[in-house]
């Protein structure tokens, strides 16, 4: 694999949109566009590592209040209660709905944490230019992209509950500040995954852009 010829090595560049392979213009100071679809040509996503890192850091910071602050306020007969994500998971677990508890825990706690770790690892390995386990790392990136879809589950749960549970005095559910932060976590981690350029995993140390 590592012996395969890279497009950059033979002065070629492919359009990311329409797939047209063109000769690379040696002048690098000006941006180039695809001859067929006029999309901007980029051998690698610009400042990919830096951007990913920025989004990732923002995500980690937001992750703290999203777990500490209550995400939902549920009031029943005789009083209300604000609950954090973990408290909600625990109450589901104690109530016997272990399946829902596991689902919420996975979507709300495990998935973001996995994303942080995965993207952090990917960033670090790309930065150090190691050729270690490139294939697995690519698979890891695909995993991050895949689980990204499911990260919004918790937000949807809160939104649905808040919309459905409206019985005035008998019971209401209202979203709380924590869910906004959680939403922020989901968005920032998605942006981080989006900013990361998996092709860099395969770059040899010399040709980092």
């Amino acid at each position: 694999m590592t012996t395969a010829v890279r497009a950059a090595d033979v002065g070629l560049i492919a359009c990311r949109i329409c797939g047209l392979v063109m000769q690379r213009v040696p002048v690098t100071s000006l941006p180039t566009a695809c001859a067929r679809c006029a999309a901007l040509l980029q051998a690698r996503l610009p400042r990919s590592g830096e951007r990913t890192l920025a989004w990732l850091i923002a995500g980690v910071i937001l992750y703290i209040p999203s777990n500490v602050l209550p995400v939902m306020y549920v009031s029943g007969v005789g009083g209300g209660e604000e609950s954090t994500i973990i408290a909600g998971v625990l109450s589901f677990w104690r109530a016997g709905s272990w399946d829902i508890a596991v689902l919420i825990f996975t979507a709300s706690v495990a998935v973001p944490a996995t994303k942080f770790l995965t993207l952090g690892t990917l960033l670090w390995t790309v930065h150090s230019g190691t050729s270690w386990a490139r294939r697995q790392r690519t698979a890891l990136y695909r995993l991050v992209e895949f689980i990204g879809y499911w990260s919004m589950l918790d937000v949807v749960v809160v939104a649905l509950t808040a919309a459905l549970l409206k019985f005035k005095a008998l019971g209401t559910a209202e979203p709380r500040l924590g869910i906004v932060f959680f939403c922020g976590v989901v968005v920032t981690t998605m942006m981080a995954a989006f900013s990361f350029d998996p092709r860099r995993i395969w770059d040899t140390p010399g040709d980092r852009a």
């Binding site: 989004w55 923002a58 703290i64 209040p65 005789g78 009083g79 922020g184």
Partner: protein, 551 residues
Amino acid sequence: MSTDTAGDPRGELPTPRVLRRRWVPSLVWLVPVIAVVLGATLVINAWRTAGPRVIISFQTAQGLEVGKTLVKYRNVTIGHVTAISLSSDHNSVLVSAELLRTATDVLTADARFWVVRPRIGIGWASGLETLISGSYIAVEAGAAPARKTEFIGLETPPPAPHGLLGKSLVLHARDVGSLALDAPVFFRRFAVGHVIDRELEADGQSARVVVFIDAPYDRLVTRATRFWNSSGIDLTLGADGLKLRTQSLASVLAGGIAFEMAPTAQDVGPVTSGAEFTLFSDQAEAMAPPDGEPRYVRMRFTQSLRGLSVGAPVDFVGVNIGQVFSVDLDYDAQRQSFPVIVTALIYPRRMGKAYEVLEQNGTATNEDKMARLVGRLVARGLRAQARTGNLLTGQLYIALDFIPGAQPARFAVDARPLQIPTAPGGVQELQQKLVSIVDKIDHLPIADIGRHLDADLVGLDGALGGLRTEVLPAGTAAFRSLGKTLGTVDHALADDAPWRDNIDQTLVEARSTLRSVRSLTDYLDRHPEALLRGRHPSQSAVPTSGPQSAK
């Protein structure tokens, strides 16, 4: 930048240094900065609103839950319980609570904390909302300037909140009856306060009851006010009959205290909070004029005193002046008899005017003078008698009365307590009366009466014989003519009587009329418009005049 001039000048020329592009931070770094700012704002906000932590010790943590139980001041949430732990000696529960910063002022040194749980009493209920919402800790700020953060929680809600207008009064009682905490205090059957504390005195001989009288009723309490226990049903079965007294239905069950002004009061000055009063056991006792020092008298009865109980009244010419203190059995070795020794408490002050007179000439205060006076009274026939106060129950009371023709008795002037001679009375007297009645019945000429009655019956028999021969035949004739009359009536009512035909005919006509009415209603049911527009010619004819008249 030195220039060497040798060989190929091109080769000699220095190559420009390639500058590394200076790192310009991407705009994307704004995102984590915003995240940090948001987070920091939250932290600062939390830190700013975080108020004091308090530790409250309770006997039990019943109903308290970490994170759930709230601390409320005037029902406004000012904090929540953050931890519950046992004290080091395991005798109490330490409840830590985090309060809002704005609640700092509540934590005065005399602030009171208690757990609001549902409490249901007779006539009142509180904290019922906590049945569903769960208990909470209520706090009440005091007025002390000092602050502290460790408190001892009250086990029951404070009876009289700080700042509640009114007076708390201390009542001393021998017996608190069925008085419960929070039991009402009545004034003319209005609940004007409640019991806030009750405890035994240190010596265990009496009880101390603290009541709180709400403003503005507290000014009804004066130095002349008498308090009495209106607990439960006051059912007295005494020599003067059955007495049932209650204050209100609630006080029947939960007990209560009533107060009123003593009728003979002279000092009606106001009282201050904390004033002390006596709690009497009933209204009569409370309203009675002060008894003053009691005196003991002793009486020796030779009869059975079944029905005489301790506390039975002692009357002096009909006025209650005391009560029986003890009833003891004695043994008279000479006569081989068992006399009953009754000791009674006499309150001379209850004699009213008479006492005042005695007081003026010094008799009331001098024991010897008193004894001599009693001696003279005994000589005039003063005797103690056990009398039946209530025939139904056989309760006895002691009556001091002048008995005309009493047997002369010896009076020991020097004996203390005074010995008052007795006279047979009460049951004994009654027995004697019964015996005399039986004697009288015995002497009735019952045989003579029977003989006269017999002769009377013979006369009555003769009278009835006359009745049989003269009155009965006339009666038979009368019955016979009555039978004839009834026969005529019977004939008139027979099947073939002419008026029956008439009735039959009338009924037939009535029936056909009803049929017409029914067909009219049927028609109207189908064609209600006929009421307004009349019958349409094509519609079926109805043999009535109804539609026409409705036209």
